[in-house]
Every structure is written in C-alpha cells, then in structure tokens.
Amino acid sequence: MKPSSNPRPRSCGVPAALFVGVLLATAGCASDKPNSPMPAAREDVKELRQITADSIKAVKVTLRSLDRVSAQVPCPPRVSDSFARDIQRLEVQSFKMRAHAQAIRARGQAYFDQWHEHLAALHDPKLRKRAVERHDLLQQSFDKIRDNAQQARAAFQPFMSGLHRLRNALVNDPSAAASDAKKNLIRTTRENGQKVAAGLDAIQNELKTVADTLKQAKLSQ
C-alpha cells in the first residue's frame, strides 16, 4: 500500500492545552512593580542651584522693597502695594527652597547618601569615578549646605513675620514707619533678611564648588 501523500496533520490540541494551562497557572503571578527600569536620577546639583538662585533673587528684591518703604514717610500707596506683592512673591518663590531645607533636615545623612548615589549614577564614567573618589569632599560640601540651609530656614520665619507685620501696619497707617517701634521692626526684619540672603549665598557658593569639582573631571578627560 502506497503511503498517503497527504499525511494527517499532527494534532496541536495537546501543546495548546499546555500553553493555556501555563497561562492560567501563572495568571496570578504578575509583578506588582513597574516592568520598566527606573529612570535616570535627577540632576540634584543643577536643580538646587536654580532653586537657590530664585530664592536669592526674591529675598534681595524684597530687601530692596523694604528699603524703599522705610525711606519714604508717609509711604506712597504705590510703594506699599509693590512691597505687599514682593512679599507674596517671596513666599511663593522660596517655597521649593524651604521644602528642600525641610527635607534635608528630616532625612539628614540619608539625603546626602542619595544625593551622592545620584552623582555616582551619572552617565559619564569619568564624572562617576570622580564623584566616588571625591566622596569626602562632597560630604563636606553637603554638610555646609545643610548647615546653611538650616540657618536660612531659621531666619526666614522671623523675616516673613516682620515683613507681614510691617505690611499690615502700613495698610492701617502709611506713616507707621516713622514710629520707633516700627523703625526697630524694620531693622530686625532687615537683619533677618540679610541672614537669609547670607545663608542662601553660602549654599550657592558650595553648590558651585560641587559643580566645579565634577567639572574638573570632565575637563581632564
């Protein structure tokens, strides 16, 4: 008997059943975690430099506004309105900086460790190597940043409080700045504002040191 030229196709029932069985068996095994790898770490130094620069600008604008208010008695409505707007702008523009300072205080060393991890995860291998080699130097810079952030944060509260009190006094009496009590308030508020500005300047300088340290690695390539 001649073998059939058209052999009966092999049944695919068994492999299909196995496949369905495996699918059903593993249906509950989906991972809870996102499948994609975590994205590149953010550029902490660059971001913090920008936030600090915004805050320094807002503090200095407000200090100049304070000088204008105290220089004119009675204070013209245009000047006091501008003063009120500058205070509000300062509160909003310093928001991120204050949030960062709060986080640095809350996390302490863990904040630096992650900061350093991000530096050590940079794409550029030279920069990565440099970040690891300069760990101690970066730690010193971070400690200075942390201390200055706390100093600026501590001075910010009385600075804002003084600004609010002065703004409210000027709304009620445009000549309020003439009284001794208000002159004293202006002086202490200015001092606190200068402390905030000094703290922020010191942070900015330290961040520049960090950026320069890492830049040197790039230049030496």
């Binding site: 809870d32 499948n35 509160e91 904040y111 609010h164």
Partner: protein
C-alpha cells in the same frame, strides 16, 4: 462459590479512606493551624492603584485651591474649610505614598521628602494666619493673604508632584 460482599468491600473502603486522608492532608495544609489573624491590610502597589491614588491627590489639590479661591465669599467658617481641605490633601498624599513600591520609595526618597516638606511649608501659612490675627490684623485680610499664598504655592507643589511621579514612573505598566 459466591464471594462474601463484606470481604470485597472492606479493602475498597480502606483504600478510599487512605486516599481521602492523603489528599485531604494536602488540602488542609493550606489552612494554617491555629488560624492566624489576617495580616494588616497594606495598600496595593500595582500600577492601577498608584494611578488612582495619584489622581486622588491631584483632584484634592484642585479642591484645596478652589477652597482658597472661594474662602473670601464665605460668611463664616472659611478658615476651617480651607484647613479641612488641606488636611484631606495631606491624607491623600499619605495614601499615595502607601501605594509606591519599595523601589520607588527608595529611589525617590529625597524627592518624596521634599514633597512632604512642601506640605509642612504650606501648613506654616496657617500658623502665620493665626499669628497675624493674634497680632490684631483683621481676619478677612489675613485670610486673603494666606489664601493667595496657598493657592500659588500649592500649584508649585502640584507641579513637583507630577514631575516626581513621572520620574518614579508612578502607575506605569
């Protein structure tokens, strides 16, 4: 010769009992003894739960901002309403962080602490309001100042939340 039915049934019964004992012990093993209380409910950290929790925070920021906008029109209880909306926002944010995986919590430790710090900074505005009112400032004026700052600052906070969530791939499949 007829076989005794009892003689035939006895081995079959014994075999059936042995089978039930063997199979049953395997099934019963799934139930621990003594029955332990169920573990505390942990928030699910699957992408859908994360998306839902994130949307809840985003919506709550909108509600909070609406309350700061509408506060001046309230005859009474404006401060309490804004405060209550803020506390709901804090709660929504805490629930959101509860849905993050350990990897996301670890990777975004600083950023999440900054978001938490941002909420603390927002809360300071309420303290400032109380201080101003205690200093003799009219409550309407102090409330207006507080609400304007809270409205704008919460907008900044929301941008940060979105940026951090995107970076941590919250709700990604």
């Amino acid at each position: 010769m007829r076989s005794n039915p009892r003689v035939v049934l006895l081995p079959a019964t014994v075999a059936a009992l042995v089978c039930v004992a063997v199979l049953g012990s395997g099934m019963l093993r799934a139930q621990p003894w003594p029955y332990a209380p169920p573990p505390p409910m942990a928030a699910p950290s699957n992408p859908m739960a994360q998306r839902s929790a994130l949307q809840s925070v985003q919506s709550q920021v909108s509600w909070f901002q609406n309350s700061t906008r509408a506060a001046s029109s309230y005859q009474t209880g404006a401060y309490g309403t804004v405060w209550q909306q803020f506390q709901i926002l804090r709660g929504a944010y805490n629930a959101f962080t509860g849905t993050l995986t350990s990897q996301q919590l670890s990777q975004g430790g600083n950023e999440l602490a900054e978001l938490q710090g941002g909420l603390d900074v927002l809360q300071e505005a309420f303290t400032n309001y109380q201080q101003e009112v205690a200093d003799g400032e009219s409550s309407a004026s102090a409330l207006n100042d507080m609400c304007q700052v809270l409205y704008q600052a919460s907008g900044v906070w929301l941008q940060e939340l979105n940026s951090v969530s995107n970076r941590l791939r919250v709700g990604w499949q």
